[in-house]
Symmetry: C2
Subunit: 797 residues, 2 copies
C-alpha cells in the first residue's frame, strides 16, 4: 500500500511542462543570493505554503531551466502563474463585517452585480460590433482596391496592393502584440479556461491585453490571415469583465471605488464567466450559444444563479448587436455588409434526408474526427516549433508573422489562378460576376460573364467565404477541384497561422476547412443525396468543430443560432458526437492541449485513477513553515523573505492553549497588510480583536487586481520592531478545510477541486504529533508532480 | 460566539415539514416496543449515523405525529425518505477491485454507459410518441363524437357524451394512480429534482410508478383536464433510466445481470439525469431544451462528461420522434394530427418591433411575474387543502378527481355559450368552420358559416388550443371578451387541477394562461403594435413560465425549439428575466415549493447566511454509536437493532493501535452483508484481508435498487455467534471526509453539498478526547433543524 511508502528527498524528475519557469534573461547572469531568494519566491508563489521547502525548489528550478526550450509559451513571455483562492477566509475581520452588514449594503451588492452584468453585456456587444465593422471596412477596402486593379488587368499591381496591405496590417498587429501585450497573442480561450479553473497567468487579463486584443484582432483578421475573431472576442469579454472585477485600472486612472465589493476571486470568477459568455455571444451573435460555451468549455464551477446572470449578459449583447445592425442598415456604416442577427441563414432550404444521406453524414463525422485529431496534432507540433522562434524576442515574432502573412497572401492570390473560369449560370438572382467586395461570383482574371470559383473563396473575408460555402441552391457553383484546393490550402494555413504573435481564433479556420470538406462530400454525392451541398458544408463544419474543439452542446447551439435551421439539429448532433468520439481516441481537445503546453496547472474535474493508490500524506513535501498564534515580527519577516508560500498554518501553543493546536491558516497577503500597519506589542500577549479591527477598514484585506497588492519590498520594519510581537488571531482563517494524512489522494483532490481551494491542510492521524503535517496546493495534484514522486505508478490505472 | 453555545437536550421545536413521518394508520394503535423500535429505525433511516440518539427521535416523532395533518403529501402516501450516497466508499474491497480491474472491464463499462444512454433515448422517445399518439386519438375521438352531436343540434347529449367521456377517463386515471402507485400523482419534477439532489423517496422511481405515470398521463390528458404531459414525461424518463440503474425489476422478472456495474448511487444519478433530459426532449420535441432543463432545474451536480451523454440521449430522442412522425404522415396513426418536430411553428411571421412593443413587452413581463407568483401561492394553498382530502384514502382521491373533472367539463362545454358567433373571415386558407377535431374555427352552436371562438380554445386538446393562440395572421379571430373568459377559466382550473391524484404537468396550464394573456395584450394594442398577436401570445407564455417555474435558459430554449423562431429570442429572454425577477420577490419557484411542502430535505447549492455564525460542533447531537475495529457480533446486532443509523464510525483502540484512532466509517448495508456471511472469529484478532475478500464477490456490496437490500430481519445470528468477533477493517471506508468541530457550519455545508455526501465526520479540535465527536447528515443542515436548535438566529443574516 502506498501509505507505507516513504519518499522525502527522492530526486525529482524534471518535467518539460513544469510550472517553475523563470524569465530567460536571468539564466546567463551569475545570480546573487538576493536574486536567488527572489527567484525562489517567484517560483514558489504558485505553490502556497507547505509543499516544497527551500532546498528542493532550487533543485527543481535548475533542472527546469535546462529544459526551458521545451516549454512552449506561445507568443507570450514566460510569466509567473498565480493560483486563485475561492475559499471564504473566515477570520474575525470577515465575521465582524458579516455582523455589521446592513440590508442596504446587501441590496447594493445585488444591484451592482446586475449592473455589472449589464455593463459587460453592453460594452462587449459594442466592442464586438466595432470589431466586425472595422474588419468589414478595412478588409473590404483592400478587396475593392484589389479587384479594381484586377478589372484593369493589372494583375501584378493587384498582387502588390493585396499582399502589401496584408503585410502592413499583419506587421502592425504583430508589433503591438509583441511590444505592448504578448499575452494577447493566440486565442485566449485556454487562458480564460485556466483562469476560471483557478490559475491566473500574469497580465492575461490586464487593460493593455484588452487593448491589443481588440485592435490586434481587427488588424489580424483584416490582414487576410486564416484566423477568426471569435476566440479573441472571448478573451476580450473576459478582459472587460476583469476590468470591473479589479475595480478599474489604476495605471490608466480609471478607478471606480464602488467596485470594491468585487475585489475577491469568487466575484471575479463570476464576472469573467459572464464576460466569456458575452464574448461568444458577440462573436457569433449567438446568445444561448454563449451561455452554453461558458458552461461547457470555459467554466469549472457553475451555479444556477450564475446561469441566469450569464444569460442576462448575453441577452443584452444580442439586443445591442441587433440595435447596431438595424442602425447600419441605413447605410451609415461604410462597407458593412449583410447584417441581421443570423449570420449564415440557410433556413430557406428544406432539409429532408434519406438513408444514403445518413450514411454520408456518418462518414463525414468519422472523417471530421480524423482530420480534427490530426489538426490538433499538427498544431501542437507547429506551436512547439514556433515557441523556439518566439522566445528569441519581439523582432523574431514580427518576422515570423510577416513570413506567414506572405505565405497566406501568395496562397490567396496565387491559387485561384489554378481554377478555370466558369460561365455565369443563367437565371440566378445574384449579380454575376460580383461587383464590389462580397458575393458568390468573383470575376478575378476571367472574361466578362465568367467567374473564378476559387477566388470567390480565397479572395474574400473569411465570413463571406463561409457564407458562400453554406449557400444553398448553388450545387454547381464550386468545382470539386476548387473545393479540394481550398480545403487543402485552408487546412494547412490553419495550423501554421495560430502560433504567430497575433490574436487568433480557431473557430473560423476549422469552420472553413470543415465546410469545404463537407461541400466536397455533398458535391461528390451529387444527385444521389437529397440534402443540399450547402447543408453538407454545414455538417462538415460541425464535424470538424467537434473533432478539434471537442465541445458538443455549445457548438451545436452556436451552429443552430448561426444558421437558424432547427430541423438540421439532429443531424448536427449526430455528426458532432461521432467526430468527437473518433478524435478523442487520438488526443485531447485543442484548448486542453494548449493549456498543458503552456504549463498551466489545470485541475481536472475527476481524479486520476492512480491517485486512488496514494494518500494525502504521500505527496506532501516539507519543510513546513508555521507561525505561532502570537508571533515575533522578526520571524514572520524572515519567513516571508525566505519563502514564497502564500499560506501559513497558525498554531497555538502553551500558554495560549493547553496543547499545541491548529488555529487556522493565515495568508501571505493578509500578513503583509498587518505588518504594514504595525500593530505590534512588546510582550507575547493576545491583542484584543476589537482593537485590531478598529484599525482596519472593511476592504483593507480585499484582494486587489493582479500585481497590485502589497509586496514584501513595501514593508519597512525597524530593527527594534523586529523584536516585537504581533497577534495573528484576528486575520487567521479559523475554518480551513482539512484532510487526514491517510485520506486517499483521489478524494482529497475532489475536495480541492470541487470547493475551489488554494490550500488544503493535511492533519496527522495519530495524536501526540504537531497538529499539522503539511499543506497541499494545486501543484501537488498535478500528474507531473505525482508521477515524478512515484514513477512506478501506471498513469491510467 | 455560537461556538460557546451548549445545547444538548434543548427541547426541539417540531416543524410541519419535518422528515419524520410515519404511516398514519399506525397512529391509532398502541405501539408495542418492537414497533416503536422499528418506527425509530424507519424515521432514523433518513439520518445516517451520528446525529440523533434514541431518546430524542422518540420525542420528535411524537411531536411530529401531532402535526401530521399539516404535512401535505400531495397525492401520495406518506413514505420513508432515504438519503443517497455519492461518496466513493474506499475500503479494502473496492481497492482490491480497482487493482484487479482489467482494461476490458473498463471498456465494457464505457460501452455499457453509452448503450444505456442510447436505450433510454430510444425508449423515452417511443414512450413519448406513444403518449402523444394515444392522447390525440382518445381525445380526438371524444371531440369528434361531441361535435357530431353538436352538428345535429343535440346539445344535451353532446354534453353528456363529452362530460361522460371525461369522467370515465378521469376516474380510470385516478383509480390506477390511487391504488397502484400513489407516487405517480402530480408532476414528478420536484421528486426527480430531489432525487438528483440526493433524496430518494420510496417507490418514486419504481416500475409500478412508471406504468401509472405513462397510462395515467394519457388518461388524464385525454380527460380534458387543464394539465400537461410534460412533467410526467420527465418523471417517466427518470423511471425508465432508474429501471436500468437498479438492474431491472426483480418483481416483474426483468433483470439484466450486466447492469450490475450501475448498482451505485453515482451511476444511477447520471442515468436519471439522462432520463429526465430525455423526458423533456420527448415532451417538447426539444433536444437542446431537454439538456438545459436537466442542467438548470433538475440536476444538482453536473460534469462536462455528463453534458455530452445527456446530449446524446436527447439527440436519440429527437431522431426517434422524427422517424415516428414521418411514419405517421402516411396516415397510419389514426387521428394523430399536425406533426413535425416543431410543434408550434410561428416562423412565417416576420418579427419586427417598435418602442411601443417593447414597452408592452416589459409590462407583459411584470404582469407575468405577478400572476406567476400568485399562481404559486394559490397552488400552495390548494395543495394544502387537498392533502387533507387525499390523506383520507384512495376513494377520496378518486372522488376529488371526479369533482374536478366535472367542473372542468362544465367550464369547457358551458363557457363557450357565453361567446357570440362570428362570421367566418373571407379569404382564409383554412376551413371555416372547422370540420373534424382540430382547427381554428370551431362551429359549436353557431349557424353555418360562423364559428365560436371560445369553443376553438376550450373544446380542443390543450396542444391545439396553444397552437390556435400562437397562430399568426389571425388578428381578429379571437374577441377580447373570449380571451378574458378563457384566461380566467384556465388560470383557475390550472391551480385547482394540479393536486388531484393524476399525473399532471404544469407547463401546459401555464403556457395556456400566459398565451391567452399575451394575446389579450396583443389584441388590446391592436394596430399600435408591430408585432403579431400570435407573437404576443408567445411572449405571454414565456413570461408566465418565467413567473411560475423560475427557469431561464431552459424555458427560453424550449420555446425556441417549440416555435422555431430565433429572431424572437432577445424578446423572450427579456420577458423571462423580468417575470422571474418580479416573481422571485414574492415566493419560490413552483417546484421548489412542492419540494419543501413534501418535506424532502433538499440541500441548496449555497449555505444559508445564519450558518456562518455556527460551527459544525453546534449542530451535532448525540449519542454517537461507534464500533471497535474488531467488534463483538452481539454489539453490532444490538446497535443495528436499536438504531436506524446508516453509518457508524470505526475506532481502533489499544492493543490494535497505540492510541484510539478513527479508522473510518462503516455503512449499515455493508455491515448487514458482512454479518449475513458470518465471517466471525472466536478471539478479538484482525482477520486477514485476503481471507475476507475471497469470501465476497465483486458486487456483493453493491447497492441494490430501493427497498431491495438486506434488512435487519434477514439476519439469523445464533446466541453463540453473538459472543464472537468480526473484523470490520475490510469493509471500513478509510477515507471519510472529516471536518474539525470548530469548522464553520457554512463551510461544512458546502463540503457536504458539493461532494454529495451522506455522512460527514466531525473530529475534535483538541487532543486527548475520543477521535470523533459526531456525524453530520443531510438533516443536520436543514433550516428547520438548525433554527429549531437556535431560535435566536435570524434566518436571513
Amino acid at each position: 500500500m502506498a501509505k507505507n511508502l516513504v519518499l522525502r528527498h527522492r530526486p525529482i524528475k524534471p518535467h518539460p511542462h513544469s510550472l517553475f519557469v523563470i524569465k530567460k534573461k536571468k539564466k546567463k547572469k551569475k545570480a546573487s543570493i538576493r536574486e536567488v531568494v527572489v527567484a525562489i519566491a517567484i517560483s514558489l508563489s504558485t505553490r502556497g505554503g507547505g509543499g516544497g521547502g527551500v532546498r528542493e525548489p532550487l533543485l527543481r528550478r535548475r533542472r527546469t531551466l535546462n529544459t526551458t526550450s521545451q516549454i512552449a509559451i506561445v507568443g507570450a513571455n514566460v510569466c509567473p502563474i498565480e493560483s486563485l483562492d475561492y475559499e471564504i477566509v473566515e477570520n474575525d475581520l470577515i465575521k465582524q463585517d458579516w455582523r455589521s452588514r446592513t440590508k442596504v449594503q446587501i441590496y447594493q451588492y445585488i444591484v451592482l452585480k446586475w449592473t455589472l452584468a449589464l455593463l459587460i453585456g453592453i460594452i462587449t456587444g459594442v466592442v464586438g460590433f466595432f470589431n466586425n465593422l472595422a474588419v468589414e471596412n478595412i478588409a473590404g477596402f483592400k478587396l475593392v482596391l484589389t479587384s479594381d486593379l484586377m478589372l484593369k488587368r493589372r494583375y501584378f499591381s493587384a498582387f502588390l496592393v493585396y499582399g502589401g496591405c496584408n503585410l502592413i496590417l499583419a506587421t502592425a498587429a504583430a508589433a503591438i502584440c509583441a511590444y505592448i501585450a504578448p499575452a494577447a497573442a493566440g486565442s485566449g480561450i485556454p487562458e480564460v479556461k485556466a483562469y476560471l479553473n483557478g490559475v491566473d497567468s500574469y497580465s492575461m487579463l490586464a487593460p493593455s491585453t484588452l487593448f491589443v486584443k481588440i485592435f490586434g484582432s481587427i488588424l489580424g483578421v483584416s490582414a487576410g490571415f486564416v484566423l477568426g475573431k471569435e476566440g479573441p472576442m472571448v478573451h476580450t469579454g473576459a478582459c472587460i469583465a476583469n476590468l470591473f472585477g479589479q475595480g478599474g485600472s489604476r495605471k490608466y486612472h480609471l478607478t471606480w471605488t464602488w467596485l470594491k465589493y468585487f475585489k475577491n476571486d469568487r466575484d471575479r470568477r463570476d464576472l469573467i464567466t459572464c464576460g466569456a459568455a458575452a464574448g461568444v455571444a458577440a462573436a457569433f451573435r449567438a446568445p444561448v450559444g454563449g451561455v452554453l460555451f461558458a458552461l461547457e468549455e470555459a467554466a469549472s464551477w457553475w451555479r444556477s444563479a450564475l446561469l441566469w446572470r450569464t444569460f442576462f449578459t448575453t441577452a443584452i449583447v444580442a439586443v445591442v448587436l441587433r440595435a447596431l445592425i438595424v442602425f447600419c442598415r441605413s447605410g451609415k456604416c461604410g462597407l458593412f455588409g449583410q447584417g441581421g442577427l443570423i449570420m449564415f441563414d440557410v433556413s430557406q432550404t428544406i432539409s429532408t434526408y434519406s438513408i444514403s444521406d445518413l450514411i454520408a453524414i456518418l462518414a463525414l463525422g468519422v472523417i471530421g474526427g480524423l482530420f480534427g485529431g490530426l489538426f490538433n496534432f499538427l498544431m501542437d507540433r507547429t506551436l512547439h516549433a514556433y515557441s523556439i522562434i518566439n522566445e528569441k524576442g519581439a523582432p523574431f515574432k514580427i518576422l515570423l508573422t510577416i513570413a506567414i502573412s506572405l505565405i497566406t497572401s501568395c496562397c490567396s492570390y496565387g491559387l485561384p489562378w489554378l481554377a478555370r473560369c466558369t460561365p455565369c449560370p443563367a437565371g440566378i438572382q445574384e449579380q454575376c460576376p460580383t461587383i464590389g467586395r462580397s458575393g458568390n461570383y468573383k470575376n478575378f482574371h476571367c472574361p466578362p460573364g465568367h467567374y473564378n470559383d476559387l477566388a470567390s473563396l480565397f479572395l474574400n473575408t473569411n465570413d463571406d467565404a463561409i457564407r458562400n460555402l453554406f449557400s444553398a441552391g448553388t450545387e454547381n457553383e464550386f468545382h470539386i477541384s476548387t473545393l479540394v484546393i481550398f480545403f487543402t490550402g485552408i487546412y494547412c494555413l490553419g495550423f501554421i497561422t495560430y502560433g504567430i504573435a497575433v490574436p487568433a481564433g480557431l473557430f473560423i479556420p476549422v469552420i472553413l476547412a470543415g465546410a469545404s470538406f463537407g461541400r466536397i462530400v455533398g458535391t461528390l454525392l451529387g444527385t444521389i443525396a437529397d440534402l443540399d451541398p450547402g447543408l453538407f458544408a454545414l455538417l462538415g463544419a460541425a464535424s470538424f468543430l467537434g473533432g478539434t474543439m471537442r465541445m458538443t452542446v455549445s457548438i451545436c447551439v452556436i451552429i443552430l443560432e448561426l444558421t437558424n435551421d432547427l430541423l438540421m439539429l439532429p443531424l448536427v448532433m449526430l455528426v458532432i458526437l461521432i467526430s468527437k468520439t473518433v478524435a478523442d481516441s487520438f488526443n485531447k481537445g485543442v484548448y486542453d492541449q494548449i493549456v498543458i503546453m503552456k504549463g498551466l496547472p489545470y485541475m481536472e474535474a475527476h481524479a486520476e485513477p492512480y491517485m486512488r493508490h496514494l494518500v494525502a500524506g504521500d505527496v506532501v513535501s516539507g519543510p513546513l513553515f508555521t507561525f505561532s498564534g502570537v508571533e515575533k515580527v522578526g520571524t514572520i519577516v524572515q519567513t516571508l523573505r525566505l519563502t514564497g508560500h502564500n499560506g501559513f498554518p497558525v498554531i497555538d501553543e502553551p500558554p495560549l492553549s493547553d496543547a499545541p493546536e491548529l488555529v487556522g491558516l493565515v495568508l501571505r497577503s493578509h500578513l503583509l497588510v498587518l505588518l504594514k500597519r504595525k500593530i505590534f506589542t512588546k510582550e507575547r500577549v493576545k491583542a484584543g480583536v476589537g482593537e485590531v479591527l478598529q484599525r482596519f477598514g472593511k476592504f483593507d484585506f480585499a484582494k486587489p487586481g493582479s500585481g497590485k497588492g502589497l509586496k514584501f519590498e513595501d514593508l519597512d520594519i525597524t530593527e527594534e520592531e523586529m523584536e516585537m510581537y504581533v497577534d495573528l488571531h484576528p486575520i487567521t482563517n479559523t475554518s480551513p478545510y482539512t484532510v487526514v494524512e491517510t485520506m486517499s489522494l483521489a478524494k482529497a483532490a475532489m475536495l480541492f477541486r470541487e470547493l475551489g481551494l488554494r490550500h488544503l491542510c493535511v492533519v496527522p492521524k495519530t495524536p501526540g504529533r504537531p497538529p499539522i503535517v503539511g499543506i497541499l496546493t494545486r501543484h501537488d495534484f498535478m500528474p507531473e508532480h505525482i508521477l515524478g514522486l512515484f514513477p512506478h505508478l501506471e498513469p491510467h490505472k
